[in-house]
Amino acid sequence: MAQAALKDTSVKEFEKKQEWWWAAEKKRSKRLDYLRKAIWKKGAIGGLYAPGVKVDLERAQLHTQKAKEMEMSPDAYVIKFAKMFAHILDNKTIFITDHAQLVGYTGSLPHTMGWDPSAASILNEEAFNDPTAIPDPVDVNQKVIREINNYWIGKTDLDKMMPVFDMEDLMKMLSGSIGWGVPLARGGYSSKDYEYIMTGKRAFAAIIDELDRKIDEVDEEVHQPGANAEISKAYDKLNNWDAMKITLEAGIRIAKRYARLARIIAENFEEDPKRKEELLKIAQTCERVPAHPPRNLQESFQYDIFIQMMSRTEAIEGAWPSRPDYYHGPYYDKDVNIDKTLTREEALDLVGEFIIRAAEVCQFKPKWTREGLQGIDGTWVWTIGGVDRNGKDACNDLTVALMQAARLVRVANPTLSFRWHPKVKDEVMREIFECNRQGLGYPNMRNDPILVANTMHWYGHPIEEARLWANQACLSPCPTTKHGFQPMRMANATANCAKIIEYVFTSGFDPVVNMQVGAETPDVATFKNFEEFFAAWTLQMQTIFSILVRAVNRARTLAPTMTPRPFLSGVSERSIESGLDTLDPSIERGNSWITAFTWVENVDSLAAVKKLVFEDKKYTLAQLKEALAKNWEGLEEMRLDFVKNAPKWGNDDDYVDDIMLRCLDEAAKFSKVLKDPSGNNWPILPENVSGNIHYANIVGALPNGRRLGDALYDGGISPGPGLDKKGPTAVLKSCGKIDHITGGRAFLLNQRLSPTQLAGEKGYQLWSSYIRTWADLGIDHIQFNMVDDATLRSAQKDPEKYQEVIVRVAGYSAHFVDVSRKTQDNIIQRTVQGLG
């Protein structure tokens, strides 16, 4: 839009036209507007990074330089690792953006993406082979990358881990047909012990004192007369503690560097007295945190940003488990309501900037990961609302401010996830509604009583800890407590479940990657009844899950020594106490889950086989096997029979809904057979992110009528697009038949609702009665996509005009114009539920 037109149109007019992005631009403060537009958008579009976004060579060089320097050092690996970490923080370029009040970024400069060359050679090769992401001059820097890569070949974490995996499992997994990602603790989703570090009781300096006491104590012990196994282990503990200390000290130092930069700008460059004051405030803040606990909202946010920045320097974190209102809320209350040192508007600026500091973060990723994420860098889902450890409503003024700020900055990542419970106040519900109505696509709703029970059921957390949960990635609640938090969940325990049903027809042979991946079940044509067929399905399911889980278990077992996390350990009470790396499974209760991509295809396919083959006897299994092998070619009538004349999930039809329950029951049973290294279970969690697009050409024809190449269903337990013919209430009813406590870990449900339906007070009344029923039905999750088809079609035709149209793509939010055409079509194809 032309600037003049933007100026002449009032906020009200924009709101009336539902042009929320323009309304937000008009409504937000000058500072927020500047900072919002200052973001270099780093989520890859169709697998490609935006022009100008570059791999950060500085960190890779610093890392490599220090590694070379320490090659001959006798230090334990964990110490060397900590020193590399410290070297990066001490020497990286830092910056302070104009108007910013919060500082800290994972890369060196605003347009850079963090690249850790020590993680995996396959990632390093991607950096080399992606000239669009290599900084200018490309030819020179390509050589720099070559040198870095050459140094790390055979030395990266993954290179070192490869030989210690079961080679057969690894080959099957890396074929890309059944799994996602690599089993490596240097990359994944890290929950944190917020109860230890974010409750104002201690910060880095106090932890360092505690570490000193521990080190002195044990050092003295090991030199007393005597010798035993405990004493032998003590040396490893001493190394771990030393390493933690090195990283925490480096953390304090880099904060001081920011403080110094702020003072230098204030004293030498800045002329505006107001900005000078702000810079001095930044300096004071960074002198205070992370060394000492925060005293106000700005310090609290800054402390959190520093911890995230350091943790994301140490590992490639693909998620952002946090509970910002719960941990920062008391500071908001103190500054705004009690001390009145901040006005609500000033506080809103800080909250908005806090979101922006996360939105700009990016770590360089391989192309297949980027494709699976479509427009964002990771699934950063911040958890808000919920209850405290005593079950009391935990919503506070910051809960509301976060949602208000989210509407002003309108970023696709991070998103918000709201822990609904019966005691949430109406005013908070209205804020959630408003965010959704304004097309943000978040907060999504999580059913707190159900999920607290679920978390206790699967991992045995005590109720007081289960109540302190935050999403570890998109959907999996994880307590932010000493033994409750899971420091690393590797993305590769992600099953492409459509392969389960596909393998029943191929006896486990995968025609796409041309290898035997699944179980060698008997020829499908020999099955005489549905029970035999279902038994083969169960075996394929168990086989695929086992391949993925074995590798993750192996990696988690080796992680404390091969891929240690001294910084994350340094902010984890259990590691401070035990001297064990935080990845050590023996000090964790566990929060493992199998992400079940493309799950519902199984249910619809099984229903179609049961109905058309075994009951109606219209086709034989031999015929169906052949049809699938031929990708239905020349058999369109038969294919349509399987699409139209078999019951489909999501229509409140017990015939197929019972099959869903049976599949989940089998998976749940097997979840308890599979154990993680903490001795805990592996429940499944159906969701897709954008896997339905990624796998389109990897999953063959299926008995639900799908052809090779067709996009898979939207994901989770959402019905297939256009197949939910009975409307949204029937979808909820179907989903409500699942026991969301014992049936699995969590279940993603996407629904599109029409903005016209939800306009005004009556829209809110409708939505809130809908939500109450969703809660009554015991469904753990729901997210709304509240954008109408006309807007989406226009966005497809004229993307420039709709830069900020945000839609929901399974499990997270992405800007519509950023997702690939295929995903766009998929979204539009979904029935606009409830629109008259």
Partner: protein, 325 residues
């Protein structure tokens, strides 16, 4: 044998037909022929065949099985689907609705409207959304066609719903004998009562029947303790004049203590596909849909007379009167 009636559709998540989230049951058959009818498939009391031209690949399978030669030979799908094409697959006057063609169609291009259902089957379907009724104040809305065409059957459904504790709305055009209506009211919580026109001659001209019986029934209804919402479909060229609204508001104000709401329903032409599928030429197809905001002015005329009025009839719009009740 159990009594069965043809149901053209059961629509869940209906939010503009009585309070809350409701399940709307459409019974086939209607004594009126309103020119603007947006459910033409509900008028006839027998099953009908939709020919959905966009899905038709012109394979000719239907023609092969038709015993009455009532189906036209295939033409190119592009021509058949082109704007303004007069081609319609079925010669309605020859067709005896044996449905052989529907059986033969593999592409869902030929489908039947009207499914025979018992009251129990209907109520079981309505029951499914009970969790939504509780939280939204919703329930069953029995509609049509015209439910009073099937007095015993409709009464049976309403009674069954009440027995199960489900809130009931009867959506009626009011064109029936009073004793028929009265018999149903026992199990009706709220009547959605249509008022199309206050002038008998104009009413007859556009709906095929006079309004005398309707107005009389409304008067009688207002003497019962059944809650009433008046529904006025505002149709351009028929009842969108100031004179009509003045008169209607005046008339309705007589019963203002019994009428909780007056819903002005903006005309739309989204039903034109259905007319096309039935092979009926619809005279209003080129009449544009009314922007709901245009009806706010007439709505005020009812409000001035002490009637709570809405535009669109949302089941979630809390009018002053409804909220207090």
């Amino acid at each position: 044998m159990k009594q069965e009636v043809l149901v053209s559709d059961i629509q869940k998540f209906a939010v503009n037909d009585g309070p809350g989230i409701r399940t709307l049951v459409f019974l086939k058959g209607c004594p009126m022929r309103c020119a603007w009818c947006h459910n033409p498939e509900t008028q006839a009391p027998f099953p009908e065949i939709y020919w959905k031209f966009r899905l038709c690949v012109q394979c000719g399978a239907c023609m092969d099985v038709c015993p009455k030669n009532a189906i036209l030979p295939p033409i190119s799908p592009k021509d058949a689907q082109s704007e303004g094409s007069a081609y319609h697959k079925i010669l309605r006057d020859k067709c005896d609705r044996c449905l052989a063609c529907v059986e033969a169609c593999r592409y869902d291009a030929l489908t039947v409207v009207g499914k025979s259902m018992t009251a129990d089957e209907i109520i079981d379907e309505v029951e499914k959304d009970r969790p939504f009724y509780k939280n939204s104040g919703g329930g069953l809305t029995l509609s049509g066609g015209e439910p009073t065409c099937h007095p015993d059957f409709a009464a049976q459904i309403l009674q069954a719903a009440k027995q199960r504790g489900i809130h009931t709305c009867l959506d009626t055009n009011g064109f029936c004998e009073w004793d028929v209506l009265e018999k149903m009211l026992e199990n009706v919580d709220l009547a959605l009562f249509d008022l199309k026109h206050t002038d008998a001659a104009i009413h007859k001209q556009h709906t095929g029947v006079g309004n005398e019986k309707i107005l009389e029934n409304l008067a009688r209804l207002s003497e019962t303790d059944v809650d009433i919402w008046i529904r006025i479909p505002v149709v351009p060229g028929f009842n969108d004049s100031k004179a009509f609204h003045t008169h209607a508001a005046e008339f309705l104000s007589r019963f203002k203590n019994q009428i909780s709401r007056v819903d002005l329903l903006p005309f739309h032409n989204w039903c034109q596909d259905k007319y096309g599928w039935l092979g009926i030429d619809w005279p209003l197809k080129d009449t544009e849909a009314t922007d709901p905001s245009f009806l706010e002015i007439p709505a005020d005329m009812y409000r001035e007379k002490g009637l709570a009025a809405t535009v669109g009839g949302s089941g979630f719009e809390k009018t002053a009167k409804w909220a207090s009740g």
